[in-house]
Amino acid sequence: MNIFAALRTALRALRKNKLRSFLAALGIVIAVAAVIATVAIGEGAKAKVADQMASLGSNLLMILPGSVMQHGAATGAGATQNLTRDDAAAIEKELGGPVAAVAPINRTGAQIIYGDANWFTQVVGTTPGYLAVRGWPLADGEAFGREEDAAAAKVCLIGQTVKDKLFGDSPAVGEQIRVRHVPCKVVGVLSAKGQSSWGQDQDDVVLMPWTTLVRRIIGSQSDAVGQLMVSARSPQSVSEAQREITSLLKQRHHQSEQSEPDFQVRNLAEMQNAAQEQTKTIALLLGSVALISLIVGAIGIANVMLVSVTERTREIGIRMAVGARGRDVMFQFLTEAVVLAAVGGAIGLFLGTGVAKYMAIQAQWPTLLSPPVMIGTMILAGLAGIIAGFYPALRASRLDPIDALRFE
């Protein structure tokens, strides 16, 4: 019996008992739909996390002042101000291989005023490298350069939120704003970056040259830097950059190679990996739930196939009398079980896709339909059909033709 004849026979047999066939396949329908929908939602969440990670900057390393020993007592992390502009310059100058850009960062909160409008925001003092590190293009105007930083020029870039609060719809570039009474010319507007992964509005910010912020706004003569942001040249060079920076800074801070560094180098790629590990665990969990529901679905099919074999004993007898071998009968019932599972799988695929799309539109959940998962789930459903159909088909194939023909 070839596959087409077997398929036709299977479809006809299943059509004769539409409701029963549907109920038998329902388990598989639900299992497949659940897998498709949950994976789509999970993948969507994963993609969103990855997106947020990327919005921080690519291949990012953060260098923070660390703990130092003072008379035998360790201070907490960040208690010292032992990172300097010179450290930043040294990294930029000496580690041009693995490092793409370096940005020293100091922050302060400040009231900013334009005309009648005023707003309290975070002011970040940094170098032109900051925009490269964060991967943050301008929406309007031009960035400040090294000369402005060296001269402590009274210029700034403003985020979208700040622009909206102070300027509304009118253009901001070229206007003068006051930052803590220091007049500053807006030279550019940053493009919108949205919320950070922890919900902070990244666009509520004013950027200005580091020297301008520290010398003019804060009024400090110190060279201490709050933190350094470094972007490595590629994902592969992140670890190398981390190693080299650690080594270089230790040298500059007169520390031995073996000692605990008085700064910290944080690798955001590692954080991203951790996040991905987490989603892997969730995927594994979803996978096992899916497997269990597939098993339940397979049991439903096996049950119906057993009933079907008993009901159709006479048919099996007739087929054997006219020349069907055991394997022909087995093939016929296996095909029926697989068709049942595959139809259930197809309905489930359709349903699951629908649910995922509905979630995306109605609940604003990001969903991502993954073709490999869809195909894999369908294969699993077919496999469930084979496993479910095996015993009933085996029983059918082992019937004695004489007994089967006599069966009422």
């Binding site: 087409f4 007739i318 087929r319 006219v322 020349g323 069907a324 071998r325 023909l405």
Partner: protein
């Protein structure tokens, strides 16, 4: 060589059924030859062993002892699958209860034996249509068994039995579920097929049906009681003509 062999040649076949501790001897050594072109009727009361004989000759079962040569080939030690192949290629079955697949068209019922012989779909359809035309049902190919009378259903079954061009047609009480008029019509088809050279083995308990054959074998208690040619053979076609006129 094989053309000269008998279609059926049983050599002292025995069949013993074990029912718990009891052993039932259904056949106690039956030797019977059926030559090509014969029309043999097997008679006997229930429990005489005629059904067991029919199952063995039909390759649905294997003898406990003795040899069975079908068309010169000893099939008594064949495996289940080998027997299935022999049934499909060399034997056509007609049963008392018609044994058609319900809710399946006449054409597809007749196609069924070819499904297991690897015949192409096109060829299947062609041969099934021809076989149905041969039994006078050329205009009923799309009817399901429920839409056909008993006589028509049995003719579909005969078409199905013929479609793989078997060497032997086995009919097990083919008229058991039919009225006398329809019975004669079915016997007319058998006689016509036999006249064309087909070997037929008919199992029946009705002597007037058996008289349509050329030779009658009577079974009793698992052995052959008598084996003789039919003296006054009934010709179904003449009976039908007589009924039509009178």
């Amino acid at each position: 060589m094989s053309s000269r062999a008998a279609v059926v040649d049983t050599q002292g076949i025995e069949k013993v059924y074990s029912m718990g501790d009891m052993k039932v001897h259904a056949l106690r050594g039956v030797s019977l030859r059926i030559e090509a072109g014969e029309f043999l009727a097997v008679m006997g009361a229930s429990g005489s062993g005629k059904s067991t004989f029919m199952n063995l000759v039909g390759c649905l079962d294997r003898p406990t002892a003795g040899a069975f040569l079908l068309n010169g080939k000893d099939v008594s030690r064949f495996s289940r699958d080998q027997l299935a192949g022999v049934r499909g290629r060399e034997i056509g079955f007609v049963f008392q209860g018609f044994n058609l697949l319900p809710r399946t068209s006449a054409l597809e019922n007749v196609e069924l034996p070819m499904l297991y012989q690897g015949v192409s779909a096109k060829e299947r359809k062609k041969r099934a249509s021809e076989a149905l035309a041969r039994v006078g049902l050329g205009d009923r190919v799309d009817h399901t068994p429920a839409q056909l009378s008993g006589g028509q259903q049995q003719r579909v079954a005969i078409a199905r039995a013929l479609v793989n061009r078997p060497v032997l047609l086995l009919a097990d009480e083919p008229t058991g579920n039919l009225d006398s008029q329809t019975s004669i019509e079915v016997m007319a088809i058998f006689q016509e097929l036999n006249d064309q050279g087909l070997t037929i083995l008919l199992v029946t308990h009705e002597s007037d049906i058996a008289e349509h054959a050329r030779r009658v074998v009577v079974f009793k208690d698992g052995v052959v009681l008598s084996d003789r040619p039919v003296q006054k053979r009934r010709i179904a076609r003449i009976q039908l003509a007589a009924e039509a006129t009178g």
